[in-house]
Amino acid sequence: MPLAAEASQPLARASLGELFYEFLKVSLLGFGGGIVLAHRAAVERRRWLTEGDFADALTLCQFMPGPNVVGIAICVGAKTRGALGALTAFAGFVLLPGAIGFALALVYLGQTRVPLVENVLRGISPAAAGLMIGTGLRLLKPHRRDLRTILFAALAFAGLAIVKFPLLLVLATLAPLGVAATLYNRASLR
């Protein structure tokens, strides 16, 4: 279990090179499910952050504008190596893959489509979606006996995925309700 392992081992300090390399990998291999790979790298493999630190950063990024996975890169970089770490993670995540991608795109725009590439992507997209679902469920797992957590996770899920309300509306409605429930149930904090 990740939680038991976490308690027994101290966190590791990230080098700038490792930050760059890990987020370059997350960016190039993420396929829309970058959160999964970022979690794997930062929490499980490198032990730069605890499970709780990661969930914290994720929560903050959900409630801020912008591409959330880039936000995770910035937070992990900032947590382990400050401003320079954030910049390094950003460079690995955005600058290099962006430059390569831009060059590839310009080449591709002049070509006809390649069926093999499209087939491969048709296989990857469902797996990437499944990994993202799995990540959310795994973050929920330690809280599975906490009724309030399960209830609000279910409400957020239903609002976005079933009723298909816009994200901003879901957040603006459920965040105050969540705070009210927490205040009502202060015992859950202790």
Binding site: G33, L37, T59, G66, A127, A129, K141
Partner: protein, 174 residues
């Protein structure tokens, strides 16, 4: 103001309010560059979107750099990418610094306990919405289910699952 200046300012504004990611402001960007200014056609916009999805890396930043490239060449590409990436990244950095500094404050414990459950639900929902567009047949649904189940119950590196799924796709099985 030049087209490049207007595009850059508009993208910087949009990225600053893109709660939930750039896709949430994509309709606004489409109206600005295609309808209001006619810098690119509807078809260009759709092509850039599809292309950005298929190239690994930061998809939406790449898409905006292609839009900028169409408007003002390489300078346009750089300005558009910067306007899309930099404002949210500055906010993430400053936001995280504050969040981390006050991590033991009472208000933050309440905020964390209240908002984390929503985050978990939203991530599952994000995956579900992605699955709805990606899963066109039962094979694809099986791949999604298997990937979620493996991630939840094993410690297998997720890259193996992406690789296996890529293989199934290449063989034409998905």
């Amino acid at each position: 103001m030049s087209a490049l200046g207007r595009l850059t300012l508009y993208l910087a504004l949009m990225s600053s309010i893109s709660f939930g990611g750039i896709p949430s402001v994509l309709p606004g960007i489409h109206d600005f560059v295609v309808i209001a200014h006619g810098w690119l056609s509807d078809r260009d916009f759709a092509n850039f979107f599809a292309l950005a999805q298929t190239i690994p890396g930061p998809n939406m930043i790449l898409m905006m750099s292609l839009v900028g490239w169409k408007v003002a060449g390489l300078a346009g590409a750089l300005a558009a990418a910067g306007a899309t990436a930099i404002p949210p990244c500055m906010m993430y950095f400053v936001g995280y610094r504050l969040w981390d500094r006050f991590r033991d404050a009472a208000w933050q414990k309440i905020a964390r306990a209240s908002l984390a459950p929503l985050t978990f639900g939203l991530i599952v929902a994000g995956g579900t919405v992605m699955a709805e567009t990606a899963d066109k047949n039962w094979q694809a649904i099986a791949v999604t289910t298997a990937a979620a189940a493996f991630l939840l119950s094993t410690r297998i590196n997720p890259l193996w699952m992406l690789g296996a799924a890529a293989m199934l796709g290449a063989l034409g099985l998905v």
